[in-house]
């Protein structure tokens, strides 16, 4: 491998949701933890199921399986704690996963115009082409509400 090719490699964490594998850039992962008690309370954000306590921090749990594989997870083996950006602010969000996670190095290909917003790129590993997830696009935040308001206003503005 040449030096220039080596520089293209990035670290990714591979995670499993049901039968499918996805990747997240390793620099977006804070830690990987065993499932713990989820505290639930009333709210109106559908993708968030509750919060966990981790090292004194309250971390929201976001089940992304429904968005990515079409159904909620029946079992969860680990929580991948990812870093979510809100402008300059960073917060943790826990993503339940069904299998072991793996750290790999790979070269990421850019997204195409038809890729979903949550796709940050693609990597090739073990003969599979794997989606690299954009945590900011995949998990809820104020942008989501602004988008909903814009859609609602556009519908209401129609004659």
């Amino acid at each position: 491998m040449t030096v220039s090719a080596e520089l293209e490699l990035q670290s990714f964490v591979l995670l499993r949701l049901g039968e499918r594998r996805f990747a997240v850039a390793a620099n977006q992962i804070a830690e990987l933890v065993a499932p713990s008690r989820v505290f639930r309370f009333p709210h109106r954000t559908p993708k968030i199921e509750g919060v966990i306590l981790r090292r004194g921090r309250i971390v929201p749990v976001c089940d992304v399986a429904e968005a990515l594989v079409g159904k909620k997870l029946a079992t969860r083996r680990l929580y991948l704690i990812a870093v979510r950006h809100y402008g300059a602010q960073r917060e943790w969000v826990a993503l339940p996963v069904t299998g072991e996670c793996e750290l790999i190095n790979a070269e990421m290909s850019a997204t195409g115009e038809f890729d979903a917003p949550h796709v940050a790129g693609w990597i090739s590993h073990d003969g599979d082409v794997i989606e690299v997830l954009d945590i900011d696009a995949l998990t809820p935040g104020p942008d989501e509400v602004l988008a909903e308001v814009a859609v609602r206003e556009a519908v209401e503005a129609r004659p």
Partner: protein, 177 residues
């Protein structure tokens, strides 16, 4: 050589809170925000029925001097299963009297964590934040979050016909969830 003076840690700011339940769910409110705790029975004689379009969580109003307090069903506000409210918190600096199931206990909160930004809908109005108590996470309610200015306008509009009908002589009714 004199030993270095011990470093004093900054005093931890604490806040007295009341833990209470609505439909089995635990919440907290700053005790400074609660002006009065009344039993439903003690208020029922003074309560008047009210119906405002689109605001199902308020069914009763109580006159207090020259102002009206709207009795908000906590269960309906939070979308919980209906439960027979037993107590009412009269919330300071608001026009809300919150119907709850019961008080769990008084406690002290040492840290209020902002609601994570992943929570991005109405809950941002409902809660001041979250606190961890005895290895449990409890949402801390925002007293002003139970009735929005728009809801208060609608409720005030619904009050007018009642006041015009028979002034202050409206008969009290039983509080119902």
């Amino acid at each position: 050589m004199r030993p270095a003076a011990p470093v004093k840690s900054a005093p931890v700011r604490t806040e007295q809170i009341i833990l209470f339940r609505i439909s089995g769910q635990l919440f907290a409110v700053s005790s400074a925000s609660v002006q009065e705790v009344r039993s439903v029975d003690s208020l029922s004689g003074a309560a008047t029925e009210i119906t405002a379009p689109g605001i199902r969580k308020v069914r009763h109003v109580v006159r207090r001097g020259d102002r009206s307090l709207f009795i908000v069903s906590g269960a309906m506000h939070f979308g919980l299963l209906p439960s027979p409210g037993m107590l009412v918190f009269v919330l300071r600096k608001t026009r809300t009297a919150l119907l709850i199931d019961g008080i769990e206990k008084m406690s002290t909160m040492t840290r209020l964590q902002a609601l994570p930004q992943s929570f991005c809908h109405e809950e941002r109005q409902w809660y001041r934040g979250l606190t961890a108590l005895d290895q449990t996470v409890v949402p801390v309610v925002r007293p002003e979050g139970f009735l929005s200015p728009e809801e208060l306008s609608l409720l005030d509009a619904a009050l007018l016909p009642l006041e015009n009908l028979n002034g202050d002589a409206v008969e009290g009714t039983e509080l119902a969830q």
